[in-house]
């Protein structure tokens, strides 16, 4: 027994005496690790009677626990101390470096800044900016809004009351903080359209790009975190012919002369009439290929005339104003542009991927 307490005392002296983290770590084997007296004592247990073994085993265990606790305390202490020392010894006045950085410019410069290798904007950013620019050139503004939303903006105002079967089209992430399950991550950028219509009088000509969330298991063509761009027009005298014409003009601007959009009837709770829109296949130009399954067309997104129920929810006079809306995925457009086969590459952040674009 005495031998144990003596060993503990010796080890304590060792640990207390360590002057740095590396010194402390180096002492571990000798203090209570493999090479310690405690370890040696453990080796002698085998020759003892069961009762003796139990008694001594417990004592050894307690001793080890005590030393481990001390080790942890000392480690934290020394780390803190070293961080403090390092803070002092390595201290930099970053405002000085910010000022020195300015030397390169202006008349007083003695030399020029080194030209550096340019970095790369993310592919999704590049496509998003191109889409924004096209719609801005057509007279649209670019609106943005929050990604954490409530049920009213994401569903109810869009003609999807609780239990509406169409809610099944949108697998939703709910946020724990909201209470009553009301906080969620938006499943589309449509809640921003709702915010626009609530806060403004028509006319509204806006596109809404942004990050959206759906509870899909990621695969080559689905990401649970993805990017969408939606458009909204609300004005007097707006018809579905304007929707078709606007999509046509956009498709031509983005995909090239002669490329067209076509509408097929579909269903969305927030538009009526609703449509899917296809574009001329970007691979074969409409001749028919594997990408378009021989049809010459590729499905791009959904669209339609704003449902009067949505206008009623946001307080727009549906007799006076009509409007249309559309939406599609930016990530998928990026994939279409570049022949990217797996959307998961977009979030991997491998520099070999990022610097291609």
């Amino acid at each position: 027994m005495n031998a144990i307490s003596e060993a503990v005392e010796r080890a304590k002296v060792l640990l207390e005496g360590a002057g740095s983290v590396s010194e402390l770590r180096a002492m571990e084997p000798e203090a209570f690790g493999k090479r310690s007296d405690l370890a040696k004592a453990t080796g002698t247990l085998r020759g003892l009677s069961p009762e003796e073994r139990r008694r001594l085993g417990r004592a050894l265990q307690e001793a080890r626990a005590e030393l481990e606790a001390l080790f942890g305390r000392r480690l934290a202490e020394l780390e803190r101390q070293e961080a403090k020392q390092r803070a002092e010894s390595e201290r930099l006045d970053l405002s000085e470096h910010a000022l020195l950085a300015r030397r390169a410019g202006g008349a007083l410069a003695e030399g020029l800044a080194q030209p550096t290798q340019r970095g790369h904007l993310h592919l999704v950013t590049q496509v998003r900016e191109e889409l924004e620019d096209i719609f801005v050139s057509m007279g649209f503004e670019v609106a943005e809004g929050p990604e954490a939303e409530d049920d009213w903006h994401n569903f109810q105002a869009l003609n999807m009351p609780a239990h509406h079967p169409a809610r099944g089209m949108f697998d939703t992430f709910y946020l724990g903080a909201g209470g009553e399950g009301s906080a969620l991550l938006r499943t589309h950028t449509s809640p921003v359209q709702v915010r626009l219509m609530v806060s403004r009088r028509p006319p509204i000509y806006a596109v809404v790009p942004g990050r959206c969330y759906r509870r899909d298991t990621p695969d080559a063509s689905h990401l649970p975190v993805f990017h969408q761009i939606e458009g909204l027009v609300v004005d007097e005298g707006i018809s579905m012919a304007h929707l078709a014409g606007t999509l046509d003009a956009f498709v031509e601007a983005f995909f090239g002369t002669g490329r067209r959009a076509r509408l097929r009837p579909s269903f969305f709770p927030f538009t009526e009439p609703s449509a899917e829109f296809d574009v001329t296949c970007w691979v074969c130009g409409g001749e028919g290929c594997r990408t378009c399954a021989g049809s010459g067309w590729v499905e791009l997104g959904g669209c339609g005339m704003v449902d009067p129920a949505v206008f009623a929810a946001v307080g727009v006079d549906a007799e006076r104003y009509t409007g249309f809306a559309w939406g599609f995925g930016i990530d998928r457009m990026a994939a279409a542009r570049t022949g990217l086969a797996d959307l998961r590459d977009l979030v991997d952040n491998d520099v070999r991927f990022l610097t291609q674009f």
Binding site: E79, P165, F267, T322
Partner: protein, 846 residues
């Protein structure tokens, strides 16, 4: 929904090639997910007449059958079934035929006797249920000639099956009849549903059924019909083939007829074995709290008063109304009399019960979308017709407690033209709608009032009718116009342009843009030196590693550094712009983006001052915190990390200079991370090296942090070397007003460069000294730069020399030595007073 073309043709004479039909269906909104070409079945199987049956001399369990297969001579076949007799017409699989299961028929010897082919049973042909005694399929007498192909004799041609995706509003198209109606309307073809015969046997009793008053509002219609002698029921092989093509397995005559009616008409229905119903009748009633029912799939379901059940006349539940029958009263091979339930249930009650129990069924899918309440009588007649002449039925008991008046919806042609951009007359609209069964029954303001057919419960408003007009008119015929007035000349908002500029200049410094997930784990936050406690929790994450929303871009960027390093990447500089989230009011010690000391942060959240107003102000819906939802605060952040030879905290400080310079932000400064900013004033600091971090400020307001990752954090991430870090709240940065562009005349007088070597204590930030120098130098100073920092023991312990150079110039004269001396004196005095600086050296000349 799988729909065989031959089945569609029962209702409309479509002749178009399959590709045209698929196209037409898609353009009606019935998306064709696949088109399957099914060749005529039974290759190598012919009809044969049984001439004689003889015992096999060497075996009891088979017999010898002589057949005439149209060859003019008898052919011997060994057969294991004994149900046929001389004169019967039977299918013979010829030598060389390949059966549906892939087996090839050969000439073979069975116990010493030759078998020249194989006689086929219904399961072997794929048109009958498995199991039971082996029995050869016998064709109706006189229905075919020996030698004729079996497919031809049974009326089985090649077929096309369309796999359709039906949208949630079109419950009516979850039926062959519904699809045929739309298709006929789209193609302008005639359409009709033949009325099945209605033959009632006088001596069969009417069914005893009832609706509990408490269930009336959830059960608009309930019918019961007794059908006797179902053991004699026989469904035609064609029924079974179509069920198979539609994706359902043949079971027995009664179940097959029931399924066929559901697929054909869209009317779910349920046959009960009447002998297993207590009291021989059915009652629709709300379930009792805690009531249990074992459904057909063998699962015990716990029910409550929100659910409705079908019970027998003694009150025992035998089915979950509109969703699934119970296991107890299921029909069996012994069943002789059936009570057929054909009913209508309210969509919402079915949807709620189905969702709560997680129970999907064909019936639920249809009822929750809405089933035509007019269907039951025809569905009963069709069911009985399919079972053949051997069965006898009683009169149908038809209960209809709530009979809704037919829905009348007016449609103004002018409105249709406004929404669609068409120029249709009221009569054009009526013509298009009549093809779908909408009846124009009275003239109204600018159009007609239409009676909505009972199978279209989704059409309740004028705009719903407009969509129907558009579908039949053809979306592809709509004109294509641009809006007459694009609102106004448009451009990106100032803050959006500024954000693009941040991206551009960072790329110009060699950094590449990353995009990381919004989701992460508490462990990952801790790995980045951040606390998980302010993070918003995802209630239903995809997995536990994605259970929180990021409070900072730092963890994602560090992850990117780690993974690239693991793949042997060299020097790295990555930035990201994205939204981050936190729980308001919680500990926020290490969130970057407070926009100020914690107190300000929380106060602005509590009152929602400015920011929420800002976010609702239309065009500028961004750039500040969002407080869209109770319990979550969200803001946009900029993050930058770099790692490589020569990289340290100064890299990030220089990046900030580039950003601030490009945005022309007034009063952008790097200030020391002093303790007096208050606890947690600038979030992200604890993760940074205590001696190499600073606060980024705009107009005196902190907007971010810059520095170096704390060595212990870098070590935990396995990153060797110094990691430069910049984190900033993008909102205040982007919305800070840029310095106005004011053209200043360029002076033509010569300049004097004044060097100012100021000995200053290390603890005094150079940025503050520079500000004083600039201010003290006054208007004559065209430019002031810090061109050198010099450290030497001769300056005294803890001091360095900040060597500034000021270029002095006047607009209206050449400067004199006195002018220069004055500036020098002013700078010396001001810096000495404010910073304890000491101006070194003699007055320079230039």
């Amino acid at each position: 929904m799988r729909v065989p073309l031959s089945w569609l043709r029962e209702f409309t004479p479509v002749e178009e090639p399959p590709e045209r039909l698929a196209h037409a269906l898609s353009f009606l909104g019935l998306v064709v997910e696949g088109t399957e070409v099914v060749p005529a079945p039974f290759g190598g199987i012919v009809v044969a007449r049984v001439l004689a049956t003889r015992p096999h001399p060497g075996a009891d369990r088979v017999q010898l059958v002589d057949v005439d297969a149209g060859e003019g001579e008898a052919r011997q076949v060994v057969c294991g079934a004994f149900n046929m007799k001389a004169g019967d017409l039977v299918p013979l699989a010829d030598v060389g035929a390949v059966m549906p299961n892939g087996m090839e028929i050969g000439r073979r010897r069975v116990r010493g006797e030759w078998s020249n082919g194989m006689l086929c049973s219904a399961p072997e042909l794929g048109i009958g249920p498995e199991g039971g005694e082996p029995a050869i399929f016998v064709l109706p007498p006189g229905s075919a000639k020996p030698g004729q192909s079996a497919a031809e004799a049974l009326g089985f041609g090649a077929d096309i099956v369309f796999d359709l995706e039906i949208s949630p509003n079109r419950g009516d198209c979850l039926s062959v009849v519904g699809v045929a109606r739309d298709l006929a309307a789209g193609l302008g073809l005639p359409f009709s549903v033949p009325a099945p015969p209605h033959v009632v046997a006088e001596d069969v009793p009417a069914a005893a059924v009832a609706i509990d008053p408490a269930a009336e509002d959830r059960c608009p219609r309930f019918t019961g019909t007794v059908v006797e002698n179902v053991k004699a029921a026989l469904v035609s092989p064609l029924v079974r083939r179509r069920l198979a093509l539609a994706g359902m397995r043949p079971i027995n005559a009664v179940v097959d007829a029931s399924n066929y009616v559901m697929l054909e008409l869209g009317q779910p229905n349920h046959p009960y074995d009447i002998s297993r119903l207590g009291g021989g009748g059915l009652v629709v009633r709300p379930a009792r709290a805690g009531e249990r029912l074992v459904t057909l799939d063998g699962t015990e379901r716990q029910l409550g008063s929100d659910d409705i059940v079908i019970s027998d006349a003694e009150g025992r539940a035998v089915g979950l109304a509109g969703i699934m029958g119970g296991a107890d009263a299921e029909i069996s091979p012994e069943t002789t009399t059936v009570l057929l339930e054909v009913a209508n249930f309210a969509p919402l009650t079915i949807a709620e019960t189905g969702k709560r129990l997680g129970l999907l069924s064909e019936a639920r899918t249809r009822f929750e979308r809405g089933v035509d309440p007019g269907l039951p009588p025809a569905a009963v007649d069709r069911f009985v017709e399919l079972l053949g002449s051997g069965v006898r039925r009683g009169e149908t008991t038809d209960l209809r407690p709530r009979r809704a008046a037919p829905l009348e919806v007016p449609l103004r042609a002018r409105r249709a033209n406004l929404v669609l951009g068409t120029s249709l007359s009221p009569e054009d609209c009526a013509g298009l709608l009549s093809r779908l069964g909408f009846e124009a029954n009275q003239r109204a303001d600018e159009g007609w009032v239409f009676r909505v057919p009972t199978w279209r419960p989704d059409c309740t408003r004028e705009v719903d009718l407009i969509e129907e007009v558009a579908r039949i008119y053809g979306y592809d015929k709509l004109r294509r116009l641009l809006p007459a007035r694009p609102a106004r000349p448009s451009r990106l908002a100032g803050w959006q342009l500024a954000r693009r500029q941040v991206r551009e200049v960072l790329a110009g410094t060699g950094a590449s843009e990353a995009w990381s997930s919004t989701f992460l784990s508490g462990r990952e936050l801790e790995l980045a030196g951040l606390s998980p406690s302010p993070a918003v929790v995802v209630e239903n994450p995809l997995d536990t590693s994605q259970a929180l929303l990021r409070t900072s871009l730092l963890p994602g960027l560090l992850r990117a550094l780690r993974s690239n390093r693991e793949r042997q990447a060299g020097a790295l500089s990555l930035f990201e712009i994205g939204n981050v989230f936190a729980v308001p009011g919680g500990p926020s010690g290490d969130l970057v983006g407070s926009g100020g000391p914690e107190a300000t942060f929380l106060a602005s959240l509590a009152s929602g001052d400015g920011h929420e107003g800002q976010s609702r102000a239309g065009a500028s819906l961004g750039g500040f915190f969002y407080r869209a939802v109770e319990g979550v605060v969200e803001w946009e952040q900029l993050g930058l990390v770099a790692l490589g030879a020569g990289v340290d905290a100064t890299y990030a400080a220089r990046a900030w200079e580039v950003i601030a310079g490009a945005l022309r932000v007034d009063g952008a400064a790097v200030v020391p991370a002093a303790a007096d900013l208050g606890p947690g004033a600038l979030m992200g600091l604890p993760a940074l090296h205590a001696g190499r971090r600073a606060v980024l400020a705009v107009g005196g307001r902190p907007v971010g942090v810059v520095g170096e990752l704390a060595p212990e954090v870098a070590a935990r991430n396995g990153l060797a070397g110094r990691v430069a870090v910049l984190l900033a709240d993008l909102g205040p940065l982007l919305s800070a007003p840029p310095r106005p562009l004011v053209a200043r005349e360029v002076s033509r007088y010569p300049a004097v460069d004044l060097d100012l070597a100021l000995s200053v204590a290390d603890v005094v930030p150079a940025g503050e000294v520079a500000a004083t120098v600039r201010q003290a130098a006054g208007d004559l100073a065209e430019e002031v730069v810090l061109f050198e920092v010099w450290r030497d023991r001769s300056l005294g312990e803890g001091r360095r020399s900040l060597n500034f150079r000021a270029r002095l110039r006047a607009d209206d004269r050449t400067l004199t030595e006195a002018d220069v001396g004055e500036v020098r004196e002013r700078v010396a005095a001001a810096t000495a007073e404010r910073h304890g600086a000491e101006l070194r050296g003699a007055a320079p000349t230039s």
